[in-house]
């Protein structure tokens, strides 16, 4: 094993009104250090994924803020790629270890969204879209609704096929203590929830969340030998035009297709080898497209197979998707999401996932998306 994950910690995700961005960051730092039984001095560098700190809180230069919390002088790198900020931090941290620059790296993803007005948050999130899309009044629900309409009409599915994603992910979140929602929902409830952007309703949409998640990655044999660990087989990233209108197709996200293809090649695995996946269900339609883009399911199949709840825990499927509850039900503090996804795979692959443990989990895949698909990161882990 060249590099593995040896520890994971996540704060509660949710509306955490009494806690600041750096309260959450601090909890996740000391949490993962304690869980990994690591000494502060053994950490060579830190990567931090955060999107909105500057826009919402005038809070940048997080590197030095984290250095102060940890009383350290080691390098701290802040990366931003909209909702893929966490995945990007992980990717660069892995790369840092592979370059031999350091042996043990702390990766943090965090976001504080709930101290702002809904207008501020909507506007802040739209910083990840093109100027034209901002100016013509589109929002992310609007952008994903355009994709959903195209998908449903092309393959003759209905809102019911989208609703199944939210129902499944809420069911999974019941067994994840740090998830934002612990509430069973039904297809009927999703279909009757207020429309945000037709065909997407409130219950097709991930929430506004606060939270922080941290991982320790290491190539140091002294950790790898003693710890519960998952090997990082591949982490690949691809980009696409920021504007939907400049894409070849809006049924699917090409950046995911490219990143997934590279990640499978690098890891010498195939989609059928994966037992657990965390995909970026910022809206229900996004999970349908992800399942096809990654290559788990063929083009046009996702509506049917999602509607049949093939990837629901306990339903007998060979691949369980979003055991954490996904962005929909575990919550979506944007910078934290990419780290939480990989952390969930780590728990599954090291058999620490308790009530939501997928029994035969050996290989896992995480897909983290920025904006409407301008950035995608696919990571494959194994034990």
């Amino acid at each position: 094993m060249r590099a593995g994950i040896v520890g994971y910690y996540s704060t509660q995700f949710g509306e955490l009104w009494e806690r600041s961005l750096f309260d959450l960051v601090e909890e996740s730092i000391w949490g993962v250090i304690k869980k990994s039984k690591i000494d502060l001095k053994q950490i060579d560098a830190i990567f931090f994924g955060n999107m909105l700190g500057g826009i919402i809180e005038n809070n940048l230069h997080a590197g030095a803020k984290i250095a102060e919390i940890m009383n350290t002088h080691i390098p701290v790198f802040h990366t931003e790629a909209a909702c893929a900020s966490g995945g990007m931090a992980f990717h660069l941290a892995h790369n840092y270890i592979m370059s031999g620059k350091g042996k043990t790296v702390l990766v943090i993803g965090a976001e504080k969204m709930n101290d702002s007005s809904p207008e501020q948050i909507t506007e802040g999130l739209m910083s990840a879209a093109s100027g034209e899309e901002q100016e013509c009044g589109l929002t992310f629900p609007g952008l994903y609704a355009l994709m959903a309409r195209e998908y449903l009409s092309t393959y003759h599915y209905t809102k019911k096929h989208l609703a199944a994603i939210s129902v499944k992910n809420h069911a999974h979140a019941l067994n994840n203590p740090t998830a934002q929602f612990h509430k069973t929902i039904t297809e009927e409830m999703v279909l009757q929830s207020p429309l945000v952007a037709d065909p997407l309703g409130v219950l097709d949409s991930s929430p506004i969340s606060d939270g922080a998640s941290s991982l320790i990655i290491s190539s140091d044999p002294s950790f790898l030998n003693k710890s519960k660990k998952a090997e990082i087989f591949s982490s690949e990233i691809a980009t696409d035009s920021i504007s939907l209108m400049k894409r070849k197709s809006i049924i699917g996200i090409e950046a995911t297709q490219i990143a997934a293809k590279k990640a499978f090649e690098k890891s010498k695995l195939k989609p059928r080898d994966i037992q657990v996946a965390e995909v970026h269900d910022c809206f229900s339609i996004a999970e349908l497209m992800a399942m096809e883009d990654i290559g788990f399911w063929k083009k046009g199949e996702a509506g049917k197979r999602a509607g049949d709840y093939e990837t629901l825990y306990g339903n007998g499927g060979s691949l369980i998707v979003n055991t954490s509850g996904g962005l929909k039900a575990a919550g979506h503090p944007v910078g934290a999401t990419g780290i939480k996804q990989i952390g969930e795979l780590y728990l599954q692959l090291t058999h620490q996932a308790k009530k939501r443990q997928v029994k035969n989990a050996r290989y896992g895949l995480a897909q983290n998306v920025g904006g409407s698909g301008g950035t995608a990161i696919v990571t494959i882990l194994g034990v």
Copy 2:
């Protein structure tokens, strides 16, 4: 040579009212690609340093915006470390190549500051300071003025010793066509300029600037063999407490001391081996402290030696500092500065610096600082 710089391009720095952030980014991309005689397809990844796009323009997710400009799907990474955002992008780009993940990388640093009110800019820049410093009304001129007062009183220097830095850097900028200012100033003018934060006047302070700079870094022998190139010997980064009040000392920046020590060790060079340096003179005092922190001059010597214009071009010294004009006179579009510094060294070491060419330039050092010293990056190049 394992990794070298094979091309550099910078836009004009200045008050470029008619140009947007991505106008400048685009010019610098096509500029460096043309100068390096490189094909777009040969670039494996892009790193982008920018601080204020989110705060000032609600402009994040630059990765996908750059992907759209270049019509590419390759990875694009946005990094932020306040005024060290460019240096951090360079550091990670170098690391990317050293990891073997890619062979040829484009690094861009850019900032658009002049479309905002002075209040917005001052507040935006303060996002790089601690919450306490923001709340008690400190600004960056204020923070550096605290350091300047302590420095001047400890070593018994006067404002005249600070003024010499600005005079020298304005003299250098006369020969740099892309510099913001082409205007000779005198010590008297600096001393009589309006105070911003005592003892620092307007002419002790770097300006508000727009601009973008790009570099091509490569480990590909086909480029290294045919191009004018400078080898990257080391790039090291260190952090410190965000708050001045939590530092051991405010005479000097410990993050620079640590990063410089590591960079010299890694490159197996000593300060006396360097002929050209670009240091982070956001305020005149910052260059004095940098000269001591890097180890060029002993503690307490900088006032005297700066006052004697030892590092002025054409004055017979063995080390010339800020031939570009520094932040003071070349301008300080914050994300671009770290790239421009390294680009200036590249021009000097490959003997393309024309009227400002330092004749025997063989080794160069760049020091890029974030905020009041919470991040510092030291890079050493050679030919």
